[in-house]
């Protein structure tokens, strides 16, 4: 018998399928229990770190731009050069990969090959690729440039392929019907439709590459990351703070500039 209280309105459950709902709760609870028993936290070490935290944040509040200025400047300029070269080279190389990975343009074997290559380029984190390239090309900016080129091809190539697969096929058909050769079909039927989007994404990638150039230096691939890790290794937190502030402000400016540029392009 339904009583008055049972007839009160309740919001419907967010996951309509009852067994999926229960399953999710069981999995979440089981994982929480499992995590509780396997994550061990060293309380003594944290207490010890708390003392260091004061030191660290003290350094953070007193950024020192001057003591290591020549190193910081060199690192930033190198990061900038790496970013520019890698983005340009990656953009140029991403075009053949992207066109090859488009189902509506490439024959099946080319499609499979290009898709596979792009997947491999994207699977490993930049830092892992950088470790490999540092071993291959030696320490320094060149290994960093190669790392960023690979990451850029993976990123832009995939997005270019997705954009090309969504184009309006009519211009391409018209060009084919008029007997245009392959290169003209691509240049006039495909690229005008995808270029605004790809140029916007390239600007975005410029931003990402600068960010990444700050971390691949940690494993020896040049740039501001190399300066940063050295400052860390020497416990010069004042310099660390200065470097991080410079990175954040440069990224902030880059975001503003690229936003403005993108609006003009689109």
């Amino acid at each position: 018998m339904p009583t008055e209280a049972a007839r009160a309105w309740r919001p419907p459950p967010r996951i309509a399928n009852a067994s999926a709902r229960r399953g999710l709760w069981i999995v979440a609870t089981a994982y929480a229990v499992f995590a509780l028993f396997t994550v061990d936290v060293d309380a003594a070490r944290i207490a010890e770190g708390a003392a260091r935290a004061a030191d660290f944040f003290g350094g953070w509040l007193r950024p020192d731009f001057f003591t290591r200025w020549s190193d910081i400047r060199m690192g930033l300029v190198e990061s900038l050069a790496m970013t520019v070269v890698a983005t340009a080279a990656g953009f140029v190389l991403a075009i053949p990969f992207g066109l090859g990975a488009s189902r509506n343009l490439a024959p099946a074997p080319v499609y499979a090959g290009c898709r596979g290559a792009l997947a491999v380029f994207r699977a490993f984190h930049e830092v892992l690729v950088a470790i490999l390239f540092v071993a291959m090309f030696g320490f320094g900016a060149f290994a960093g440039v190669m790392t960023l080129v690979v990451a850029t091809i993976g990123f832009l190539g995939k997005l270019l392929a997705e954009a090309v697969e969504e184009i309006d096929p009519a211009p391409l058909e018209a060009l084919t019907a008029a007997g245009a050769p392959w290169a003209s079909r691509i240049a006039f039927g495909v690229l005008p439709q995808v270029m605004p989007r790809i140029l916007g994404l390239t600007l975005y990638r410029l931003d990402i590459n600068f960010r990444e150039s700050a971390i691949i230096g940690l494993v020896g691939a040049g740039g501001i990351g190399a300066t940063l890790i050295t400052a860390f290794a020497r416990y010069e937190f004042e310099s660390v703070s200065a470097i991080l502030m410079l990175i954040i402000s440069m990224l902030f400016v880059a975001e503003l500039l690229s936003g403005r540029l993108r609006r003009r392009l689109l």
């Binding site: 967010r14 994550v39 061990d40 260091r52 830092v127 490999l132 071993a135 040049g222 990224l251």
Partner: protein, 271 residues
Amino acid sequence: MPANARAGDRQWDWHTPAQRRLRLFGTLATTVFLAWAWTHISSRTTWGFVRDAGVQLQDMGLRMFPPEGSYLSALSRPLVDTLHIATLGTVLGVLIAIPLAFLAARTTTPSERVLRPLALLALVTSRSVNSIIWALILVVLVGPGLLAGILAIALRSVGFVGKLVYEAIEEAPELPVTALRTTGAGRAQSLAFGLVPNVLPVMAGVSVYRWEINIREATILGIVGAGGLGMALQSSIDSLAWSRVSVILGVILGTVVVAEWVSARVRKGLA
């Protein structure tokens, strides 16, 4: 349409003269900048080492193969640690990000003058510092290990999740909230029933997507001492055990691929 066509001289042209000048200038500036950047890199490269790269690659390949299969069993603990770092870090990050998103969204923020800029600043800072740099800082503070990794992933995720969620909140329709207010519902009630149901799918989708990215990032945090597979990788590289490095790289690749598959499945279910 190009405007430079004259009667009798009807040649089609892609750009106007002003556009052409701008493009020429842009091309020149880009070329000069690129040339400078390349000479800068080139002057700091030891080309002998670069020419040698093929030999190095071959050498590395020979050392990596055959992979030391028995090392696989020693990797179960680092693998579990990596999953913990990514999962717990994502959960913690989302828990911090959601209140910040409500403070940052123009439609829900309690104070547009003070709290909104502060929340936005927190989100930008979180996003600008890579998780590996957060890890570097946290290893100093809480010691090497799992906790540093979890916190690093959480701190980096806050900005990502927060930004996407606050944009979703601003884009959500305001009518349901207004309707609830007119029936006499309180502020919290009207948000809980008028807004949250609309942004919840975005929250869930963004969190799962961030988890997938975090799996990838968690595999390398160990390089700076924050636990997981990266720690095993660093120690194998340091001891020149390349036949173990190939095993670890294989495990990382497998984990990333599985995580991507899980994430794609879950997001498809949510959509």
